[in-house]
């Protein structure tokens, strides 16, 4: 032991052998999109606007730009810049982008990570799910098993015997408290659903194949469109998440293209942030302007590359596939 910080933890957490395998997997991902004529793009990590998502915390920094001292935000995903390319007719695009989420460090999280994000103008959400499935099979060395679509609502009914849309908040809080072992008396509906999803449902997903969860509650639409559940007309988000071995791998949307609705969601998010006692985030007005000028209907998905590599190489933690995770950077 020594008092000099870093003297005993300067070495990488991934072996050179793992980094070599990682490089090969990255090349495979690029080859997949090249074969499908999807254009690789590079957009800035910094932006004048940041993600307003109430449950993501953005990092910001001060920069000296031609406009003087400005606050710039580190992206939580490359979504906003990529949508601005779609709005000028880029066609299908993908990016392997460094993204940043403050406070997120764990076995499956790192503040700085690599996001694979791609957009397909004119492709349906179902079409994009098929493409995700093909990519995952292309990258993984062994067959992950069949793909199953699971409705968010059915998962809650089957696993917990509650309906996420109709069961009373009191009962959701009670189930959350039982399962999480914490007081849920002041939790809202989404807070309860998030807890039940993370603790009771997620660990069961992707055990026999690739599980795709669809039809999320409308309140969790983020930047996705919404549609009606044919069962009873409940509003649901046109969104999917892909799980494999209990790990959430990807999050896809039928992208919101309505500028006015986008502006409303940004403002709502910031109000929610204030209610949670979090700082508000500067809104990306250029994204709203791009949507106003007209973004083609598109589906898009963000996939955590480090997690996919973790699964491909059968590693227990994300740190094992990164040279230097946040605690060692």
């Amino acid at each position: 032991m020594t008092d000099i910080r870093g003297a005993d933890d300067w070495q990488p957490t991934a072996t050179i052998e793992t980094l070599r395998a990682r490089a090969q997997l990255m090349a495979k991902i690029r080859a997949f999109f090249a074969a499908r004529d999807v254009l690789e793009v590079e957009t800035p990590i910094l932006g004048h606007g940041g993600s307003t998502d109430p449950h993501l915390d953005s990092l910001a920094l001060e920069a000296i730009t031609p406009d003087g001292h400005e606050r710039l935000w580190l992206q939580t995903s490359p979504e906003f810049h990529m949508k601005r390319l779609l709005a000028v007719g880029s066609g299908p695009i993908f990016q392997l982008a460094r993204s940043f989420r403050d406070g997120e460090v764990g076995r499956r999280h790192n503040i700085e990570f690599t996001m694979l994000e791609w957009y397909r103008p004119g492709l349906s959400l179902a079409g994009l799910i098929d493409e995700c499935d093909a990519l995952i099979r292309h990258v993984l060395p062994i067959d992950p098993g069949p793909l199953r679509q699971r409705r968010y609502r059915d998962l809650f009914r089957e696993t917990l015997d509650v309906d996420p849309f109709t069961t009373s908040l009191a009962i959701l809080r009670q189930r959350g408290a039982e399962i999480g072992g914490l007081s849920m008396t002041d939790a809202d509906r989404d807070g309860c659903l998030d807890l039940l999803m993370s603790f009771a449902i997620e660990p069961l997903l992707g055990r026999e194949g690739i599980d795709v969860v669809v039809d999320y509650p409308a309140s969790q639409a983020a930047l996705a469109r919404k549609h009606r559940d044919p069962e009873d007309g409940a509003e649901v988000a046109s969104r999917f998440e892909i799980y494999l071995h209990g790990i959430e791998l990807a999050n896809g949307y039928d992208e919101l293209t309505d500028a006015a609705e986008q502006a409303v969601r940004f403002a709502d998010d910031n109000r929610q942030r204030q209610a949670l006692g979090k700082p508000t985030v500067d809104i990306d007005h250029r994204l709203v302007a791009a949507l106003e000028s007209g973004m083609p209907p598109a589906s898009g998905v963000a996939l955590g590359v480090d997690r996919l590599i973790q699964l491909a190489l059968m590693k227990d933690s994300i740190a094992e596939v990164m040279a230097f995770p946040t605690p060692r950077c």
Binding site: D53, H55, L56, G103, E104, V105, G106, R107, R108, H109, G180, G181, L182, A187, D190, G191, L193, D194, L195, M197, S198, F199, E202, Q220, A222, E241, E248, N251, L276, G277
Partner: protein, 188 residues
């Protein structure tokens, strides 16, 4: 004491939970796709030694516990209490009760240095050094020539602990013992 928020939770942090001082062992960050984050925390209750698993919403906080680990030399036992003395030259002594001494009772050796955990200046736990040199006070006679592999036998040590030792060990010998596993390491 300061308050610590879930993102400051890490192994070794001492916090108050349900009125007891606890040592955080592990903090697992759990977060669904786009939703709220939680911390699943393993803590050791320093009063009872039990390990608790609790979940906290991200951003919740716990009060820090006024817990200190100090090096102290074991001095003597009066039958009810075990007495330790600070090694900083102050000769200040702390009495440790049966509950706080726990299993460590069988690893006590005068003048050896232990880590004594104080909470609000009361001793609540004692941990022995990783290795201790202790005398064999009782064991079957050693087998001559058997210095290689093969077989072990119980030996009672001067501190009261019984450990498995190789067959060649004799009564009166001083052995190096790993107190974490309770295993024989070598002759001292």
């Amino acid at each position: 004491m300061a308050n610590y928020s879930t993102n400051e939770f890490k192994g070794g942090l001492k916090v108050m939970l349900d009125g007891d001082p606890c040592n955080i062992l592990e903090n697992e960050f759990v977060k669904p796709g786009k939703g709220q984050a939680f911390s699943r925390v393993k803590l050791r209750n320093l009063n009872t030694g039990r390990v608790w698993e609790r979940t906290f919403k991200s951003g919740e906080s716990l009060e820090g516990a006024d817990v200190m680990d100090l090096d102290m030399e074991y001095v003597y036992s009066d039958g009810d209490m075990w007495h330790f003395m600070k090694t900083d030259g102050s000769f200040e002594q702390y009495a440790v009760d049966k509950k706080a001494i726990g299993d460590v009772e069988k690893w006590l050796k005068e003048q050896a240095v232990y880590t004594v955990t104080l909470w609000n200046d009361n001793a609540i736990a004692v941990s022995p050094p990783n290795f201790l040199e202790l005398e064999v006070v009782e064991t079957d006679p050693g087998l001559k020539g058997d210095t290689a592999q093969g077989g072990s036998k119980p030996a009672k040590l001067s501190s009261g602990a019984t450990v498995r030792v190789p067959l060649f060990i004799n009564q009166g010998e001083i052995l190096k013992i790993d107190t974490r596993s309770g295993e024989y390491v070598s002759r001292a």
